[in-house]
């Protein structure tokens, strides 16, 4: 059986058992808060704007790609964490994107989903690599992530394989003025044979606490 103690609970237990000694001039809660502050190990996922085509009440589906849909299939997965590296269970991950031709469905809900991360913060969906929306520079998938006790996050996932980057996203990610952080450009793993390729992308989300 595994223990599910939080860091704070663990430190408090150590103090109670005498394996952690706190100086007389310090209060235990103060020490724990300072320790936790130092334990911050993850940077929040950079903000990126919502864009004009967010739509509420998207269906809870994991497969956005219908049989016969053109475009390169892609599996996107990741976990939702807080800045201390703890998983955020049951986060709501809303995603929306264009189809392979760069068109948003604003009349219906194609290529839109509301995902619920599991207890360990994991989420996943299958789609196609979005096309280039006219007027925007790069291929992207929009995210709106919400979870109790955390600041909502709007951001966008970009693909390192986007032809706009000319194979060098480190150097060329600023070709899209909306990409203010290189870390939103994610590596893409291609598997399968040339007639049945599949792309895979991992995108971890880090939320700030309220």
């Amino acid at each position: 059986m595994t223990s599910a103690l939080t860091r704070r609970e663990l430190l408090a237990k150590c103090a109670a058992l005498g394996t952690l000694t706190v100086g007389a001039s310090l209060l235990l809660p103060t020490v724990l808060a300072a320790w936790e502050e130092q334990e911050k190990s993850l940077k929040p996922t950079p903000w990126n704007e919502l864009g004009p085509f967010y739509k509420r009440k998207a269906p809870q589906i994991k497969n956005l790609r219908a049989p016969g849909d053109p475009g390169l299939p892609v599996s996107v997965s990741g976990r939702v964490f807080d800045v201390r590296g703890d998983a955020v269970p049951n986060a709501k991950v809303e995603i929306w994107q264009t189809n392979h031709a760069g068109r948003y469905d604003i009349n219906g809900y194609r290529y839109r989903s509301t995902l619920n991360a599991d207890k360990s913060g994991k989420y996943a969906f299958d789609s196609v690599v979005p096309g280039h929306y006219p007027g925007r520079v790069c291929q992207h998938i929009h995210y709106l992530v919400t979870a109790d006790g955390h600041k909502p996050l709007t951001t966008q996932l970009y693909f390192a394989t986007d032809p706009v980057f000319d194979g060098d996203p480190d150097k060329n990610f600023t070709r899209d003025p909306l990409i203010l952080s290189r870390e939103l450009v994610r590596p893409v793993t291609i598997t399968g044979d040339p007639k049945a390729m599949l792309a895979a992308v991992t995108f971890e989300i880090v939320l700030e606490r309220l």
Binding site: W47, E49, L50, P52, F53, Y54, G135, P152, P177, L178
Partner: protein, 289 residues
């Protein structure tokens, strides 16, 4: 009237009643033109960062420019001097001057909307937190402010107290304006409709469908007409109609289909609607209503 610029203009800001129009040009310079002569008054270097958003005060005295690096400036168009400068964490997603020109409301990232007193350069009010703000508008008397976030229109008094809220949108509202009497707000977005919202209760009084997603809307200065600029949702680079309707007869609509290169437009104080059209390196101002 034709405004001649040494560099192509991407956006032209027309004041409702002022004598100075400003153009954001592709060489990252801001150019100020005198109206109605169309004479180029001055050129202001906007720096190297790409501009994200700009807005002009009703009297044309101030123009606000913000870039993707997070720098925000309010410039006096008659002198070219910056009367306000600030660096923020994220670039602006929405901004509006109060009609009297004393206040500037700005939204960036997931930050709260801030209302800034331009003269004292101080934040006089912060509105409640939201995830994203895509549009801001002041009432004509500057006593109320409306914001559009990812799913709602919220209406506040200028002390920051929320008066009402409307959640009747499936897609984010992107455009807002108060009626002349301050009793209604019109709002629209990619739902392909505009809602007329009762300021006191937040309830939708009327819903009018539009041919495409709404990117801008505004009541005429006399409050009798409303203009709704749509965008071609499949391709923002293609033209999409501007729809005019009367408040007394909202179902009687007229449409104007612009040419491809519209770079600005809006109501003038005498009730005309002017479109700014880029052509051969210049900008033509054309009355369309």
């Amino acid at each position: 009237m034709t405004l001649t610029s040494p560099a192509p203009c991407g956006t032209l800001l027309l004041p409702v009643a002022g004598k100075n129009a400003t153009a954001l040009c592709r060489d990252h310079k801001l150019r100020v033109f005198a109206l109605p002569e169309g004479k180029l008054l001055r050129t202001i270097d906007g720096g190297s960062a790409r501009l994200a958003l700009s807005t002009i005060s009703d009297d044309g005295r101030f123009v606000m420019v913000s870039d993707y690096a997070g720098d925000v400036s309010v410039l006096d168009t008659s002198t070219g001097e910056a009367s306000f400068k600030q660096h923020i964490n994220h670039y602006l997603t929405a901004a509006a001057f109060s009609h009297g020109g004393r206040l500037l409301a700005v939204a960036s990232g997931a930050e709260r909307v801030r209302i800034i007193d331009i003269a004292s350069k101080s934040v006089v009010q912060e509105l409640e937190p939201t995830t994203f703000t895509g549009a801001i508008a002041f009432s004509r008397d500057d006593q109320m402010i409306a914001t559009a976030d990812e799913k709602s229109v919220r209406i506040y008094d200028v002390e920051g107290r929320r008066l009402s809220r409307n959640d009747d949108f499936l897609m984010s509202p992107l455009a807002l304006d108060f009626s002349a009497d301050g009793k209604q707000v019109i709002a629209g977005g990619a739902d392909k409709a505009v809602l007329f919202i009762d300021v006191a209760t937040g309830k939708t009084l009327r819903r009018t469908t539009m041919p495409d997603a709404v990117m801008w809307t505004g009541f005429s200065p006399d409050g009798k007409n409303v203009a709704v600029a749509t965008m071609h949702a499949d391709n923002l680079q293609l033209p999409s109609p501007v729809v005019f309707s009367g408040i007394a007869s909202p179902h009687t609509k007229t449409q104007w289909m612009p040419p491809k290169d519209v770079v600005g437009g809006g109501w003038t104080r005498d009730g005309h609607f002017i479109a700014a059209i880029a052509a051969n390196g210049a900008v033509q101002l054309q009355p369309v209503r």
